[in-house]
Amino acid sequence: MPEITYLEGIRQALFEEMERDENVFCLGEDIGAYGGAFKVTEGLLSKFGEERVIDTPVSEAAIVGAAAGAAHMGMRPVCEMQFIDFISCGYDMLTNYVATARYRAMLPCPMVVRGPSGGYVRGGPFHSQNPEAAFLHTPGLKIVYPATVSDAKGLLKSAIRDDDCVLFFEHKYLYRRIKEELAEGDHLVPIGKARIAREGADVSVISYAATLWKVLEAAEQCEKEDGLSVEVVDLRTLLPLDDDAIVATVKKTNRVLVVHEDTRTGGIAGEITARINELAFEWLDAPVLRITAADVPLPYAPSLEDYVLPQTADIVRGIRRLAAY
């Protein structure tokens, strides 16, 4: 099999799932004739027709709400947010309607809301967001955020087959920057399972999405320069969190750094820290530390964006600090 990009992995997942199940259809802004702002859905319209690849008005609430209605009827809609920043326009539908449907009304809502997320691309405050924490607090939703080509494809296929609503965050920095060769066959990655991205014994770093790659760089550097053995855990799914994987790495290294690109206050790193506190307090040899974006809207200028977002050097500093504690 040839190497494919992260973006091609997502596109393949859409093609394969639409071919496999006629209940799967896509809706979103400019996804049909244009193929999507990032061309993720390119080729879908000619293959599946405009009844299953629907160009919608600029209406995120209607996209999410209509997907929910179709999902109630047994379809499996995949909504594209042109940029994930606009998911906030569908926040009410997602949190009040979709997330509660099964619980309050026994109404299944098997649907996916996906879209390009994240920064490091000079996109400014409204084309760079990581809004996952805004939904982490909503029971009834699932959240995945893949870092690799394999996970992008395999988790999207699992998300489409899941019987509940899955928010699928795609990191736009990774779209065309990483490549991988995937084995042939029905490539599925289970939702809710983290992955050890690098084995280690001295310090654990828990991360996901684009910062996962910066963490791996930092781990490499710390091994070379400091002789530190750094374990890296890629969460992959943020809701539900894989407590077992988190506790296992705490017990192994006793020192934990949590790294994410999202802002700090109320971010997922705080939740992970609280869980470690409750589940594995006595296994810690150092306080859990966080490396995150600063609590500011993401600015545009490279000198500003690079300063606000976590960089490899920051993570190296965090690992060294924990190792020395």
């Binding site: 629907i54 209406s59 999410v64 709400g65 109630h72 099964r102 594995a280 296994w283």
Partner: protein, 389 residues
């Protein structure tokens, strides 16, 4: 026929000549169907009256929402759907009558209001917030307008699958101000979904009169902005409601897309039972009650122009009372929900959440005392040894 519409709020001032004192001809309906409409209107009113009693006995756990004076709009519009074809509606808080038409039972309604464990939502949701897609109704949420996009999607699925089914969604005058209403109706219109949007204009959104809700002269005028037909009818004339909705349903079934039907009616009770309606101009409620009650009008028409014997209606009344009595007894016997049922069914997978540690759960190091040997400073033995030394 000259209008006898009371004045007051703008909904009250229905356009001269449009409000009819008696329902229209209803030629397309059989005698049985006309009596059916009466049954559902009477059942709605009597069931709500029973709920008022239960509310005063504190057996209704939460608030109580009445549709007094709006029974014709709820029943007549829902009746225009074809249940044998699998048509689906999404009701609002004053559409108890619509749900009864679709097959919701008094027992379900009573259990739901009384928060019973065998209620349709197992005690999770209040009042008439529940659905049954297989019977053709989908439960609402409190966020007004949100059911419009949802029903756009329900009917989009009918279109994609080429099913001969129609959807109908209710919004109130207040919900027409929401973004969801706009986005949903626009998407459905563009996609030519088989959807009927019923705008129930009952004059008030909680305490806010229609004059503070919109600058539009009539809510039906909003339809033209979406490129769909809009019609305004007397919502207290059950036959007119049925006929107008039926025209919209037929258009939808023919593949002609979305229609908007504004039903002009009046909310005679407050937003909920606690609301004292202090904001309503004096005499307004009384005028609607005495001059434009949908049931009184319909009874007058059935027994007058249609020549149906009063005894036939009395038989229906007796049947309604009996059904409600039986349902009340059964609902009172229903159990309350088991507390830990609260942790079931947030997701298909996992189907159940673990209890938190301060309840039955034990997943905490605090409980387990997993203390590795390397963890020295707080080892009680070490502390004790240090103290002894």
């Amino acid at each position: 026929m000259a209008t006898r519409a009371p004045t007051g709020s703008r909904a009250g001032k229905a356009p001269a000549g449009q409000l009819r004192a008696e329902p229209g001809p209803g030629a397309a309906l059989t005698r049985e169907q006309k009596l059916d409409l009466y049954y559902y209107m009477r059942l709605t009113r009597s069931l709500e009256e029973r709920l008022v009693n239960l509310y005063r006995q504190t057996k209704v756990v939460g608030g109580l929402f009445r549709s007094l004076g709006q029974e014709a709009d709820a029943v007549g519009s829902a009746y225009a759907l074809d249940r044998s074809k699998g048509d689906v509606l999404s009701p609002l808080i004053r559409n108890l009558g619509s749900m009864l038409v679709q097959g919701a039972t008094p027992l379900e309604i009573l259990r739901q209001y009384m928060a019973k464990g065998d209620s349709p939502t197992r005690g999770r949701e209040l009042n008439i917030h529940f659905g049954s897609p297989e019977r053709g109704f989908i439960g609402q949420i409190s966020h007004l307008g949100d059911m419009v996009p949802v029903m756009a999607g329900v009917t989009l699925s009918f279109k994609i699958r080429k099913q001969d089914r129609v959807g109908l969604v209710y919004v109130g005058d207040g919900a027409t101000s929401t973004g969801s209403f706009h986005e949903g109706i626009n998407l459905a219109a563009v996609q030519r979904c088989p959807l009927v949007v019923i705008v129930e204009n009952n004059g008030y959104a909680y305490s806010t009169p229609i004059s503070r809700q919109t600058a539009a002269a009539e809510l039906k005028d909003k339809a033209s902005g979406y490129g769909i037909p809009g019609e305004r009818v007397d919502g207290n004339d059950v036959i007119a409601v049925y006929e107008a909705t039926r025209r919209a349903v037929d258009r939808a079934r023919r593949g002609e897309g979305v229609s908007l039907v504004e039903l002009v009616t009046y909310r005679r009770k407050g937003h909920a039972e606690h609301d004292n309606q202090s904001y309503v101009p004096e005499g307004e409620i009384e005028r609607w009650e005495s001059e434009n009650d949908p049931l009184t009008r319909y009874v007058g028409w059935l027994t007058g122009i249609e020549g149906i014997a009063a005894s036939a209606l009395e038989q229906i009344d007796a049947r309604v009372v009996q059904e409600i009595d039986l349902a009340t007894d059964e609902a009172e016997r229903s159990p309350v929900p088991e507390s830990d049922d609260a942790l079931i069914g947030i997701y298909a997978d996992p189907p159940t959440l673990e209890p938190l540690w301060f309840r039955e759960g034990v997943r905490s190091a605090v409980e387990k005392h997993e203390r590795p040997a390397s963890w020295g400073t707080h080892d009680p033995e070490t502390v004790k040894a240090t103290e002894d030394a």
